[in-house]
């Protein structure tokens, strides 16, 4: 039966537009991809200056009350801590000393004993609660740490809200800067025990960071958020019972305070982690801000804003956020910055109202900061103990002071400056009526005072991924030029659904394989092979084995006679990549952006290795070469080493590094790990399959 000629009805404009776009898919893809990359490079120019969004914060509206007297007291504590260092056994003594100082202020003191956990693999941690499951399995009873908690109750408050100050302190190798960080917080805390304006309780956590800064803070937070009811006290509820109770704990009993008495205040409004480092830039007192928490989450921008505002405008500190230093000297970036500056000048000459373009140096600086912001968000690993707070929806930031004045021995001057900054921040947070919500949670920083918000940074990403569905649709529509006509009215199943069902099956199976690959390191770690290289080799071998097994069991063979098969497979792959990237952009934008840069060109370009007689040799050859280059670049280990090499140089690269990197990702429950194994790798395998497809 001949296909019926339906009279062409006039279609709606939106349908016609869709058909137009799909029929010009190649042009659309090229334009979108290029403009996506260009828009990404323009982000530092499009960045806006930060501003305090929440009116209640009113930073810097009050004069600092912190006086030399508080600093003097703090200095005494610093000296006492430094004296302790010379004594042989000091680990328990430090806690006692700090506790004595706190209770002398009239504040409440508590101890928190915790067992550091070795990091575990929770493949679905991202979707579950932060404190789910029993977390007491992998503890070593002989290893424990003791946090000291001081709480200053607010005279004006109802005890339902609190602000947290955290000072990590490692008593085993403490030096002047560690002692100073305690002194700094102590001077603020001593002031806050006396002031009348306090509306939120202040919790000061001196975190025992012998086993890592993050684990002590997260252990304390876990116990804080998960109260134990009934007779079972914190210590007894541990898997390590009283039998292993060490000797020096008795000292704590004599302080008159029970260790089991877990001290609590209200819900946390914000947390500040205070650190001091001796590395410093010449001639300026610097404040480094660290804000990235797990899976690219950031604290509310307002918190960073008030710290930045007070540090720059009140205390005269030089505020810095992390930069990718190698980018600063990159030639291409310098050239690009010059070009953009020139373009900006031309624009301004055309119309002085157009404020496009920034000075070249500023652009380079912004790009380096933006790149590091993207990189650390994409890793999904918190950059400091503040990351533990974000899991409980508490905004937190790490302030790392690197004072130049220390070199000249002017401790008191530094203590005064630093503690006035912290006082100001706490005073601002103290004014808050609700939790931070006004400003952005989703942003990238290009400098401490400039940011790119979600509405702007989504544009490059959307431009990058937009060609995927367009190309998929155009390929899918082309299939029916290859295949038999569907309107013949056969009784048998017509090919429309069957053609894509095979491809969809293939895609699903490969993604299932990806899920298996993501679980394999768990088993490999149980077996405990020695070197990372060995582990990596076993991982790849097992993955390949699983793939072969799946192919055998589920019959993954393509009927190679049909022409249109690879086209359908490509269409299905493009859809899978699109879904995966969009999903990842919600979970962790930075990962999705970097992944899109690697995957999208590959998936759009991929074509079987077969010379097309209709095209010239040059075209054929260049397409093949491009396919090879893109495919090898998108393979996760290769892209890892390329990135490493680009940033740190290619010398001294070890194959095992990749395993170490992957291990760190899953140990921190980073969603990036899931992305690599369950989206990126399967799509790469599918592209490889298409490349090797014999048409």
């Amino acid at each position: 039966m001949a296909p019926k000629e339906t009279p062409k009805m006039k279609q709606r404009p939106i349908v016609r537009l869709g058909i137009l776009i799909i029929s010009h898919s190649v042009v659309v893809s090229v334009i979108c991809c290029i403009s996506g990359v260009v828009a990404l490079l323009l982000l530092p120019i499009l960045a806006k200056n930060t501003y305090i969004s929440e009116n209640a914060l009113m930073p810097g509206s009050a004069n600092p009350m912190l006086s030399d007297q508080d600093v003097g007291e703090a200095n005494k504590l610093v000296n006492a801590l430094l004296d302790l260092k010379s004594e042989p056994i000091s680990s328990g003594r430090v806690s006692t000393l700090v506790a004595e100082f706190i209770s002398d202020l009239g504040a409440e003191v508590g101890y928190h004993k915790f067992y550091p956990e070795s990091n575990q693999f929770h493949p679905l941690h991202f979707f579950s609660l932060p404190d789910s499951g029993s977390l007491q399995e992998n503890v070593n009873c002989s290893m424990y740490g003791i946090n000291v908690i001081g709480i200053a109750r607010a005279p004006q408050g109802d005890g339902k809200e609190a602000v947290v100050l955290v000072t990590p302190y490692n008593s085993e190798n403490a030096d002047l800067s560690d002692a100073l960080s305690i002194g700094l917080t102590y001077s603020v805390f001593s002031l806050l025990t006396q002031v009348t304006w306090l509306a939120k309780d202040i919790i000061w956590l001196v975190a025992d960071s012998r086993y890592g800064e993050y684990s002590s803070v997260s252990a304390w937070l876990r116990d804080y958020q998960r109260p134990v009811f009934g007779a079972s006290l914190i210590l007894d509820s541990d898997t390590c019972d009283g039998g292993s109770r060490p000797y020096d704990l008795n000292n704590f009993m004599t302080c008159g305070k029970l260790i089991d008495n877990f001290k609590r205040a209200g819900t946390m409004a914000a947390a500040l982690v205070v650190k001091v480092t001796e590395k410093s830039e010449p001639f300026v007192d610097t404040l480094n801000l660290y804000a990235e928490a797990s899976n690219g989450q950031m604290p509310n921008l307002d918190l960073i804003n008030i710290v930045n505002y007070l540090a720059v405008h009140r205390q005269g500190l030089h505020v810095k956020v992390k930069k990718l230093i190698p980018l600063l000297n990159a030639k291409w970036l310098n050239v690009l910055a010059d070009i953009l500056e020139t373009v900006g000048v031309i624009f301004r000459r055309l119309n002085p109202q157009w404020k496009f373009g920034i000075p070249a140096a500023e652009y380079i600086d912004g790009t380096a900061t933006l790149a590091s912001s993207l990189y650390y968000q994409a890793l999904g690993i918190p950059t400091g103990p503040h990351g533990a707070f974000r899991d409980y929806q508490v905004d937190a930031v790490t302030l790392e002071f690197s004072p130049y004045s220390l070199r000249k021995g002017r401790h008191k001057e530094f203590l005064l400056q630093g503690s006035r900054l912290i006082e100001g921040v706490i005073r601002s947070v103290n004014n808050l009526l609700e939790k931070f919500h006004q400003s952005f949670f989703l942003y990238l920083l290009t400098s401490p005072g400039r940011f790119v918000s979600v509405g702007v940074y989504m544009i490059p990403f959307i431009l990058l991924v937009a060609p995927l569905p367009v190309m998929a649709a155009s390929l899918y529509m082309n299939i029916f030029d290859f295949g038999p006509n569907t309107e013949t009215g056969q009784l048998a199943v017509s090919p429309r659904s069957v053609t894509w069902l095979d491809a969809a099956k293939m895609v699903l199976i490969v993604h299932f394989w990806g899920a298996i690959v993501s679980l394999l390191p768990y088993c490999i770690c149980q077996m405990d092979f020695s070197t990372p290289t060995m582990n990596l080799a076993i991982w790849s071998m097992l993955s390949a084995l699983c793939f072969l097994l799946l192919c055998l069991v589920l019959g993954l063979h393509f009927n190679q006679t049909e022409k249109a098969k690879w086209v359908v497979l490509k269409s299905a792959t493009l859809s899978a990549v699109f879904i995966g990237l969009c999903l990842m952009s919600v979970v962790n934008f930075a990962t999705a952006e970097i992944g899109a840069l690697l995957l999208v060109p590959l998936c759009l370009m991929i074509h079987p290795l077969k010379i097309n007689p209709n095209m010239g040799t040059l075209v054929n050859f260049s397409r093949m070469a491009l396919n090879f280059i893109l495919l090898s670049m998108a393979f996760p280990p290769v892209s890892f080493f390329l990135l490493q090499g680009a940033v740190y140089g290619f010398h001294g690269i070890d194959i095992g590094d990749f395993w170490m990197w992957v291990e760190s990702l899953w140990a921190w429950n980073s969603a990036t790990y899931l992305y690599i194994t369950m989206i990126h790798l399967p799509c790469w395998v599918l592209c490889l399959h298409i490349l090797l497809h014999a048409r």
Binding site: P123, F126, F127, S128, S132, Q393, L491, V493, V586
Partner: protein, 375 residues
């Protein structure tokens, strides 16, 4: 040909056993999966809490916790005791069993439908022997689609009660298809839980059906009603309740007129519509109609936008938990994020539904024309 049939039959059983094994493997990771607390899986019509209330001789319907039917309560209640005291196996095994029964009933229904279909074709002299072999065994396919559908698996592992409700629907469908009126009536009765022992007074009636009709519980789920009724002004509430529920009733009659010669397909369409417009939908409801959809694989194979809809279903069902996480656990999103996915889901379902109906009608019309030409 006979051999091929036997081959496909053994393949069918292999896949069924594989699906059981897969479920049993997943049962061992309840803590990692947290499925029973997911909004996609559990609706206020859960039962473990209700049984505890009953044990402590409080009417389970007195509070706002339990809204399931009393029949389910008395069947599943005793099983939950084992869950809470020992290993979670007994109740999990029960749900796996229910899934298997559902799949087998769907398969039997499919056979029945196909037999009738084949008979019609033969009577019209439309079928050629070569083509007969190409017809998919839609019963087997539908059973496997039901068993391997991630929605079914999630509902089964998440201990949602929807598999049991689905069983009632399928029993009644099967009874209707095979002409066993009592069986159909039994399934229907099971569904509405009429034949309960008078355990409590009439309270349960308002507490279950009243609860469903008035949309009291506004905790988020994959439907769209919770958001709408959280937003709507109180004095408009009853008006919109009527509008929303009338929406379903308005569809019943026209569809019945249009599809009166295709009763099995009509039943499928009704099931799908209920799953879309229900006040507390869960993935278990979608699992049922997606399974039934495969019963009509032969007719719907050439459906338009099928690939697009397939991708849409996958995308939305993955995006929805992520948005929920963003809203509830990370605090960086809000209710609109999650509701957006719920709306997208409803849209996809509706497009799919309308495509299926129009495709089926086209198919039947073409068939009729063909037979006229041949005659």
């Amino acid at each position: 040909m006979e051999e091929k049939k036997r081959g496909s039959r053994s393949a069918f059983w292999r896949w069924v056993i594989a699906s059981i094994l897969f479920r049993l493997i997943l049962v061992y990771f309840p803590k990692n999966l947290h499925l029973s607390s997911r909004p996609e899986v559990s609706t206020p019509l859960t039962m473990a809490e209700g049984y505890w209330l009953k044990q402590s001789s409080i009417s389970p319907y007195a509070g706002s916790m339990h809204h399931g039917s009393p029949l389910l309560l008395s069947i599943l209640g005793p099983l939950t005791v084992f869950t809470l005291l020992q290993v979670d196996l007994s109740i999990n095994l029960f749900f796996v069993l229910v899934d298997i029964i559902n799949a087998l009933l769907i398969r039997a229904t499919g056979w029945c439908i196909q037999e009738v279909y084949g008979r019609t074709l033969k009577s019209l002299d439309l079928v050629k022997p070569s083509e007969a072999s190409e017809i998919i065994l839609s019963g087997d396919l539908a059973a496997l689609v039901y068993l391997w559908n991630p929605f079914t698996i999630v509902a089964c592992i998440g201990l949602s009660t929807s598999p049991v409700e689905n069983m009632a629907i399928i029993v009644s469908l099967y009874g209707a298809c095979t002409g066993l009126v009592p069986l159909a009536a039994f399934g229907w009765g099971l569904l509405v839980s009429i034949e309960i022992r008078k355990m409590y007074n009439v309270i349960w009636l308002c507490r279950t059906y009243g609860f469903i009709l008035t949309v009291e519980d506004l905790s988020p789920n994959i439907g769209v009603l919770w958001y709408f009724f959280a937003e709507v002004f109180d004095f408009f509430r009853s008006f919109f309740l009527i509008v929303f529920h009338m929406n379903i009733f308005f569809m019943v009659l026209p569809l019945a007129i249009r599809l009166k010669h295709l009763p099995a397909f009509l039943a499928f369409v009704y099931v799908a519509i209920v799953a879309i417009f229900k006040s507390y939908p869960s993935v278990g409801d979608s699992a049922l109609y997606l399974g039934l959809l495969a019963l009509f694989a032969n007719e719907l194979a050439d459906m338009k936008f099928s690939f697009f809809l397939f991708c849409g279903y996958i995308g939305v069902s993955l995006l929805s938990p992520v948005m929920h996480n963003l809203w509830i656990w990370r605090g960086t999103g809000n209710a609109n994020f999650y509701f957006a996915t719920a709306m997208a889901y409803a849209c996809f379902q509706e497009v799919a539904e309308s495509q299926e109906v129009s495709r089926k009608r086209d198919f039947m019309e073409r068939r009729v024309k063909q037979s006229i030409i041949l005659l």
